[in-house]
Symmetry: C2
Subunit: 311 residues, 2 copies
């Protein structure tokens, strides 16, 4: 299999990479994301053409998009890229590059990369989830991303865990994302500090707006409020994670996104809360909980893997 | 493919059938479920031996068990059949019958039957769910039941939709089953009647303990309290069903169990609530909602299909 060209189209920036079979990046480019379909295709064609000059030349390209991508690779809808509505972006780019172009959801491709080249290596059925601004993920079975009947399998941030809970960014109440994202951790920390507690967290922020990373700094220093907050956040993560595992029965879960930087400060309470929520835990093999290994480049690497995958 | 012998082992009774390729039952036997592993194997061998005399003779048998069944067909744990713990019941029966015996979870086999011979015929990826004493189901993709990494894929009643909600029979708080099962509908009706409302429901019960079916009778007669209760129950069903569809992206959902007898009284408010909860509903094809077609024989028919499936 020749190395593929993988492109992660985010709301603000585009990351394009050429990856080798091991998932290592051998070349990359970054540009801002332009607005609108035609300017985006122009930018992608430009950046891709440069990377097609690498040796050996990529024989295909993959694109990851934050949005709903159907089985034909059409971007049905993207909240962060409003110019893409029923957009056949893969066909448009293929016509410019002269190689096949495949398109999938960014979270699916990050999951593909983590499952096969990152934190999930060695496991057969991997649920890989990124906890960042939102919560996204995918289920990879035997090296293939599950796509569902229409391409929308694995909207793992968007199921109800708390009917009376906070609104989700998607407009539905009580979704897991609304209590488990990195954004939610930051909001929990700001609420705590506003209430007059969490002095260690506020100190870690040093005048900047309090965010999830400051909880980690304070917790690492032994701050009790920070540790308690992390325990509450870990319970929020566990309630959805165990629910997903009851439904999907993976053998490993790979946890990525900013909150993965919390390391054992998160993993220790998470493992306890997860085991307490998992169905039949006394009668079943453990589900491995692992951290992601590919960082913010996972989607681009996954797109490169998709580009080189047999069709 | 020769017809298979399918056996549904429930907590109180065993139903064994021989089914033809269309899933029609051509012979059946019912006996009470004995307690303990050896008596159960004896009873299964007896009932199966009788049905093996049918022409053409079944070339294999399938068993559906209410419990956790691993990929090897071992019954790891069954709350309703406490004598089965790490029980290789398929091997034991195969040794007695001289034909291969395969074992799966009862809800998985009911889903297999409904997806391929019942309410889901014509769809590629079918989520089939039974709303009875509990809530169980399975996802059938291209005619095959998804099993997950360990055999436990699709514990669809057991994910959290309401963290602060009622306890589930499994011992975890807030699971969908606790608010969406037929049992839950009956409990909602009894609570209403106890509060002094729901006179039409109480009248339909006519002195018997109020149950879900009485809500249907009263609602069919236009009783306003019953119709309101069904709307609340439909919302309980919808919150979990839309969540599952956001995760699993089927093209059809098949709804079985006692509550399916409610027909359009349930389906009408359910469709409205489901569409309101489904992610990206304005940008995606409809997910079909259908009623089950095989009733209480679905698991036995699914076991017969499993018996005849290629390995």
């Amino acid at each position: 299999v020749s190395p593929g060209l993988g492109i992660d189209v985010g709301g603000t920036k585009i990351l394009a990479v050429v990856a080798d079979d091991a998932g290592r990046i051998v070349a990359e480019r970054r540009v801002p994301t332009p607005t609108g379909f035609a300017p985006l295709v122009d930018a992608l064609a430009q950046i891709a053409s440069e990377l097609m000059l690498e040796e050996p030349a990529p024989q295909g390209a993959g694109i990851g998009i934050a949005g709903m991508v159907d089985l034909a690779g059409t971007v049905v809808y993207s909240p962060n890229l409003p110019g893409l509505r029923d957009a056949a972006i893969g066909e448009a780019l293929a016509a410019r590059l002269g190689v096949p172009v495949r398109v999938d959801n960014d979270a699916n491709l990050a999951a593909l990369a983590e499952a096969t080249r990152g934190g999930g290596v060695g496991y057969e059925q991997v649920l890989a989830i990124t906890f960042g601004t939102g919560v996204g993920g995918g289920l990879v079975v035997g090296g293939e991303v599950m796509r569902g009947a229409h391409g929308f399998f694995g909207e793992v941030g968007h199921f109800v865990v708390d009917r009376d809970g906070p609104m989700c960014a998607c407009g539905h109440r009580g979704h897991w994302e609304a209590i488990a994202s990195g954004t939610a951790l930051g909001a929990m920390a700001r609420t705590l500090v506003s209430s007059g507690r969490g002095a260690g967290i506020a100190a870690a922020a040093g005048g900047d707006e309090v965010a999830g990373e400051h909880v980690g700094v304070a917790a690492a220093a032994g701050d009790r409020d920070a540790l308690e907050l992390l325990e509450r956040y870990a319970a929020n993560v566990a309630v959805g994670l165990a629910s997903l595992c009851n439904i999907l029965d993976p053998d490993a879960v790979v946890i990525g996104g900013g909150v993965a930087d919390l390391g054992e400060l998160l993993m220790e309470p998470l493992r306890v809360a997860f085991d307490a929520e998992l169905e039949g835990v006394d009668h079943r093999p453990d589900i491995a909980l692992r951290f992601a290994a590919l960082g913010g480049q996972a989607t681009a690497i996954g797109a490169a893997i998709l580009a080189g995958a047999p069709r």
